[in-house]
């Protein structure tokens, strides 16, 4: 019996003390949320007391909060007592790709995902000698050599409690917002990264992560710390369509950049968007992502390509505390069929000579509804702060919508602000020009849209830029008649 199993078992026994009846056979808690559930989660994970206390504070605070209604999205009421808050990260393994939904495989092939990776993504059992696994091990060793810590959140709680205790909740406090507070109470796992002083992380933290991705739960927690003068590029997500039985996803990501440090965080999100004609069964993605440029000359850059989910509520933000710190937000969001997205960013300028750039590209097709919501705040002490915002939307067809709500709040007269916004439809003239050169309408749309997104795609790590291009094609399939 391995130690993990022992921990789970011993915790399962303890549960009884609290009078909570659970089916020992299954590793999933019955639906419902109360303090006992949180205690069980914490125990199952063998957490220290302070973390349990933090979870409980969050839970008690959450009880007093109301679900936010200001976003321009519509979805049925969520019954939080009807959700199971702990499910062992174990997936049923399939014997071969033949057992996988052929539709899913077709999409994988369109995206050009290698066969071995397809197996992994769809939960097919893979050989112990499977390349990526050994690659992952090699990566781990290389990272270790540099002193980089890259592990699951639970492992970090065990092995690096001092770092977790020092940074957890410092960027997104447990009181922050309804979903983040819920996450703070019930989060199950996630990732932890620490880059030591002066280290430039020798690789994109991506390939490795994709291997682990298949096991992430619905309440994920990620914490990335870049110490003085360090540099890291982190990629989350996957271009492959991800299905999940859990409809609600409320993740929290916290980034901390110390003096002269740079964090580049890229996301490619392609959760199941729901039934193409009804939107039924799609994922609700209510995420809180925020980074603090804690000290001088630090830089945080968010790049996101959002093509999935039924409902997206997401505002990766930067708090520019250190002087000369830089915050960036590059976003492409696609809403097709019945998808809805309310997304954008917040740039809070506190330090002197802080600079932020926002480039947001929204594409709506079918009955998709999309909102850009962004806030740029220049606080009193932020002398000579600068912001450049550009929000462009493109509409395909006449049943979709694009909305832009930029909030600008300037309290320092030396600030320089620039804001540009455009909304256009794919021009008949552009389509005809492509057609006249023998390019089909489908290819023309994907070409025009990819051109439109270029400023954002070029911010993605190379390999993902290529995949993102293909992803756009697949996401917009069937959007022209």
């Amino acid at each position: 019996m391995n130690s993990e199993q022992q921990i789970i078992d011993s915790n399962l026994k303890k549960e009884y003390e609290y009078g909570f009846v659970t089916d020992i056979e299954s590793e999933t808690l019955p639906p419902g949320l109360n303090e006992e559930v949180i205690r069980i989660i914490s125990k199952k994970k063998d957490e220290p007391q302070w973390l349990l206390d933090w979870r409980l504070k969050a839970y008690r605070h959450w009880l007093k909060m109301d679900e936010p209604k200001w976003a321009k999205v519509v979805y049925p009421e969520i019954d939080y007592q009807d959700i199971s808050y702990f499910s062992a990260p174990k997936k049923k393994e399939l014997a071969s790709l033949d057992e996988v939904d052929p539709e899913l495989l077709a999409t994988y092939n369109k995206l050009g995902i290698p066969l071995e990776e397809q197996k992994m993504l769809s939960g097919v059992a893979v050989d112990a000698v499977f390349d990526s696994v050994s690659v992952a091990t090699t990566f781990k060793e290389e990272l270790k050599k540099e002193g980089v810590i890259f592990c699951s959140f639970s492992e970090a709680v065990k092995n690096h409690p001092e770092l977790i205790q020092r940074y957890l909740g410092t960027v997104v406090p447990y009181t922050d917002n309804y979903y983040a507070t819920l996450n703070s109470a019930v989060f199950t796992d996630g990732s932890f990264v620490y880059i030591p002083k002066g280290v430039r992380c020798p690789m994109e933290l991506s390939t490795y992560f994709r291997i682990n991705e298949a096991k992430t739960g619905q309440f994920e927690r990620t914490l990335i710390i870049a110490d003085e003068g360090s540099h890291v590029s982190y990629l989350e997500g996957c271009t492959a369509p991800m299905r999940d039985e859990n409809q609600l996803h409320a993740a929290v990501v916290e980034l901390v950049a110390h003096r002269d440090a740079t964090i580049k965080y890229s996301t490619v999100q392609n959760w199941y968007p729901g039934h193409p004609e009804t939107g039924a069964g799609g994922i609700y993605n209510f995420v809180t992502k925020r980074g603090t440029c804690l000290e001088d000359n630090s830089r945080i850059s968010w790049t996101q390509v959002e093509t999935g989910s039924a409902v997206t509520w997401k505002y990766p933000s930067c708090i520019l505390k250190g002087d000369n710190s830089v915050g960036e937000f590059y976003s492409v969001a696609v809403t097709n069929n019945y998808q809805q997205a309310d997304t954008g960013t917040k740039m809070i300028h506190l330090g002197k000579n802080t600079k932020s750039t926002i480039i947001s590209k929204g594409i709506s097709a079918g009955h998709g509804q999309q909102t850009y919501r962004g806030e740029v705040k220049i606080m009193k002490g932020a002398d000579h702060a600068r912001n450049f915002s550009q929000c462009d939307s493109i509409l395909i067809g006449d049943t979709c919508g694009a909305h832009t709500f930029p909030y600008i709040n300037v309290r320092n007269p030396s600030a320089q602000m620039e804001h540009e916004a455009t909304t256009s439809s794919i021009g008949e003239d552009q389509m005809f020009y492509c057609n006249q050169r023998g390019i089909s309408s489908e290819d023309a749309v994907s070409m025009i849209v990819n051109g439109f997104c270029k400023d954002v795609f070029k911010e993605l790590p190379m390999e993902f830029a290529v995949e993102a291009t293909k992803l756009m094609e697949v996401s917009l399939e069937g959007s022209v008649g």
Binding site: Y433, N435, Q436, R437, G438, G451, K454
Partner: protein, 246 residues
């Protein structure tokens, strides 16, 4: 190659073409001249199948088949090319990518192997040199930030690369200085051969100094009122269009 019979077409409710008859054989170059609003551009748009132009009567036959029901891309793949009067900008899509996609769509249609990046680059570099164009062109967006002359040159570059059977040059000479005009004319002349046909649509005869049409047609109010040899172009230059109006 192209046989237009009694073609009537309208834009929205307005009749523009009122019975055009025009036959272009393989190897021939025809020029259609006319003032603004005479229907020149409508003619080229109807031949290429653009949305918004409704044919109410008559037929357009290409290589012996009526093409009025064909989609614009099917017409293009069959070998009909138009050099646009106002070339379209597609921001962020670079010329290399665009032209390679177009060429490969055609090659695929013809059952040929698609060109890879290296093969395409070799081909395009040769064409660029012929038109005295810079290789920085390849990295720029399609017509993005191009001057009027650069846009027109780009159209001819596309023509030379795609090697159509029927090329329609819609006001290709407008907005060009004399040097650019000469380079383009050279490109067009080099393109001409016994298997290809050209339809040159123009307002002025200055392009016709450098490329000699076999037949010149004068279009007034949606009808061809006179056809003749290349000397007709010179006559128009001298006398204007008024003397042809009824």
């Amino acid at each position: 190659m192209l046989d237009i019979q009694n073609l009537h077409a309208r834009v929205e409710d307005k009749p523009i073409l009122k019975g055009i008859n025009l036959a272009i054989k393989s190897g021939e170059m025809h020029a259609v001249m006319g003032r603004n609003g005479s229907g020149k551009s409508t003619l080229s748009n109807v031949i290429t199948g653009r949305e918004g132009f409704t044919v109410t009567q008559g037929d357009v036959n290409y290589k012996g088949e009526s093409i009025l029901d064909w989609s614009p891309e099917d017409r293009a793949l069959a070998g009909i090319f138009m050099s646009f009067q106002y070339p379209i900008v597609i921001p962020g899509v670079n010329n290399t990518y665009f032209l390679k996609a177009a060429l490969n769509a055609k090659r695929k249609h013809e059952g040929e192997k698609e060109l890879d990046a290296a093969g395409f680059l070799k081909l395009i570099k040769q064409k660029l040199a012929e038109l005295d164009m810079d290789t920085t062109y390849l990295q720029r967006g399609v017509n993005e930030g191009f001057s009027g002359g650069e846009k027109k040159r780009n159209e001819i570059l596309q023509m030379l690369t795609l090697q159509p059977d029927l090329a329609i040059l819609d006001e290709t000479d407008s907005g060009l200085d004399i040097d650019a005009l000469k380079i383009i004319a050279e490109g067009v002349n080099q393109f001409r051969n016994v298997d290809r046909s050209l339809l040159v649509i123009t307002h002025y005869q200055r392009l016709l100094k450098y490329i000699k049409p076999d037949v010149v047609h004068v279009l007034i109010d949606g009808q061809i009122v006179r056809s003749g040899g290349k000397e007709l172009a010179l006559e128009l230059e001298e006398k204007g269009y008024n003397w042809l109006e009824s």
